[in-house]
Amino acid sequence: MATTRILEWLGRLYILLLLAFLYLPIIIMALMSFNVSPFYQLPFEWTTEWYASLWQNDQLIAATWNSVEIAVITTVICVVLGSAASLALYRYEFRGKKFLQALLFPPIAIPWLITGTAMLIFFFGVGIGRGLHAILLGHVALALPYVIVVVSARLQTFAPELEEAARSLGANQWQVTRRVTLPWIMPGVIAGGLFAFAVSFDQFVVSYFLATPGQTTLPVEIYAAIRKGFTPEINAVSTIIIVVSMALMLLTARFFKFGGEK
């Protein structure tokens, strides 16, 4: 009895430590975004000054919008292309299919620093150059394998007889895909889309290589700002982003069970 209780207690402590490890730095940062002192000094004095001055920081706001825009476009492109590619890999047998599928994994494993350098040199060579369009192109290339891997994993649980049944009832290829296959893989598509969004929105390395001085994304802008001298505005913008992205995640988790049986 006593042992069970001790184990239970240790289990709770473990969970608590885990959560602290994950969330404490974030919580402190969020708190400090409301602290008067810009140098993390205590006692804590409440202020929304940093949020107000953030509102005035056009550069940071512009970079935030760039990031959101690029992440959204990257997500849309990757979800459409990635789902289509996954369906093609699922449905058709062709020469070199296994090789092609194997080729999807290295980009996930190759350090972004190397991918970024390679992209910079390549884009420069072929005349794409640098700028937001180059960043977008880079992000799509980085995020696409994630979507294909996640959607393909979901498709592995799809019963091919469902497509056959739909066809036997007179449905054409488009009707089969839209009404039978897509609803089944939707949790995978959503999960893949979230991955794509996260890869793009969090992306620093590749964006850093491909950004031009005036036109940049939020992570690159934050990095530049920290180098110039830390301001609590960074805390403020980070807090906003954390709240928004956590809300998004919780919403999605509420409506979809990833990979689960419906």
């Binding site: 019963a159 007889e161 056959e164 049944a165 036997s168 009832l169 007179g170 009404r179 089944w184």
Partner: protein, 354 residues
């Protein structure tokens, strides 16, 4: 409704001949079973008729119209799959409505037809459920309703009862047969279960290694099998092998077996005789002499009690014979006992050696 004609259809996958020059005429409104062991080509044949796969050569006609190059979605067939293949993201009613809906029927028409189809399979009140909330038998009925609501020309069933337990399977056999009679649809039914084929179908086609072995009404195939394979695959049979004598065979030890049915063969050729286990009478003595009955002596090696009947295994000249006896309260024969087996030539079928 329409009949289906399969003429000289062949289909190979690489070096494997899945179908080898198969021809069958499925009559309009008939209930037809395609029976065979796994790998015999029965499912391949069904998929050719459905249009999921096209034959390398040969012709398939539905209602007189050549369809061998028409894809499945344009063939107007109804199909029930082994695992039902119900759409998990749709309600029962939406599953049944699918075929009408992709065809662009009006909402009101769809609602009426779906309700009628669900009533036919006795699931009128379950339209709002999801497939995962149904029992196996109910899913089976939904799959059937979905397949027939579009008024297909032919209904194809791929081992539809395979996933059900025994008691439910018997219920569904009766139910399926009732529905088929009610709408009068040509039905082709793939199974490896011989009992199912015997009880449900008007005609049976037995396939083996991509070839049609024999085809005809269940009783005809059961009573007059044309090959050892047909005799042993559809029901149980004791097979004797020897040389033909004109009206039977002579075994290696000289014993003659008289056959009253089957092939007419030139004397001296290799041939077999098949006799069903339930046609043999088993006794401890020879009894009254009977002019033309086949009589063999043997020894009981094993008895298996199965409720209403018992199976005796009788050893005779290195061969084990099966005899099935109804348990009518007669004395049971002990293992090791010497017995006399007796059956009439009319119960014996002469088969050419394969």
């Amino acid at each position: 409704m329409a009949g289906v004609q399969v003429s000289n259809v062949s289909r190979s996958f690489g070096a494997h001949k899945a179908l080898d020059d198969v021809s069958i005429d499925f009559a309009d409104g008939g209930f037809y079973a395609l029976l065979g062991p796994s790998g015999s080509g029965k499912t391949t044949l069904l998929r050719q008729i459905a249009g999921f796969d096209f034959p390398d050569s040969g012709r398939i006609a539905i209602g007189g119209e050549s369809v061998e190059r028409v894809p499945v979605e344009k063939r107007r067939i109804g199909m029930v799959f082994q695992n039902y293949a119900l759409f998990p993201n749709m309600s029962v009613a939406d599953n049944v409505a699918f075929g009408l809906s992709v065809r662009g029927e009006a909402k009101a028409v769809i609602a009426t037809e779906v309700q009628r189809a669900l009533a036919l399979v006795q699931l009128g009140k379950l339209g709002g459920r999801r497939p995962h909330q149904l029992s196996g038998g109910q899913r089976q009925r939904v799959a059937l309703a979905r397949a027939i609501v579009t008024k297909p020309r032919v209904l194809l069933l791929d081992e539809p009862l395979g996933a059900l337990d025994k008691a439910l399977r018997v219920d569904m056999q009766i139910e399926l047969k009732r529905i088929q009679r009610e709408i009068g649809i040509t039905t082709i039914f793939v199974t490896h279960d011989q009992e199912e084929a015997l009880t449900m179908s008007d005609r049976i086609g037995i396939l083996r290694d991509g070839r049609l072995v024999q085809e005809g009404p269940p009783e005809e195939i059961y009573n007059r099998p044309k090959s050892e394979f047909a005799a042993t695959f559809l029901g149980d049979a004791n097979i004797f092998r020897g040389d033909t004598t004109g009206n039977g065979i002579r075994l290696a030890d000289g014993t003659a077996i008289a056959a009253g049915a089957g092939a007419t063969l030139a004397a001296g050729a290799k041939a077999s005789c098949a006799v069903r286990p339930e046609r043999i009478r088993i006794a401890t003595d020879a009894g009254a002499p009977d002019g033309n009955a086949n009589i063999l002596k043997g020894q009981v090696s094993k008895r298996i009690f199965a409720g209403n009947n018992s199976t005796y295994f009788v050893e005779r000249a290195g061969q084990t014979l099966k005899v099935i006896v109804q348990n009518t309260g007669m004395e049971r024969l002990a293992e090791g006992q010497d017995v006399v087996l007796r059956w009439s030539p009319e119960s014996t079928v002469l088969i050419a050696a394969n």
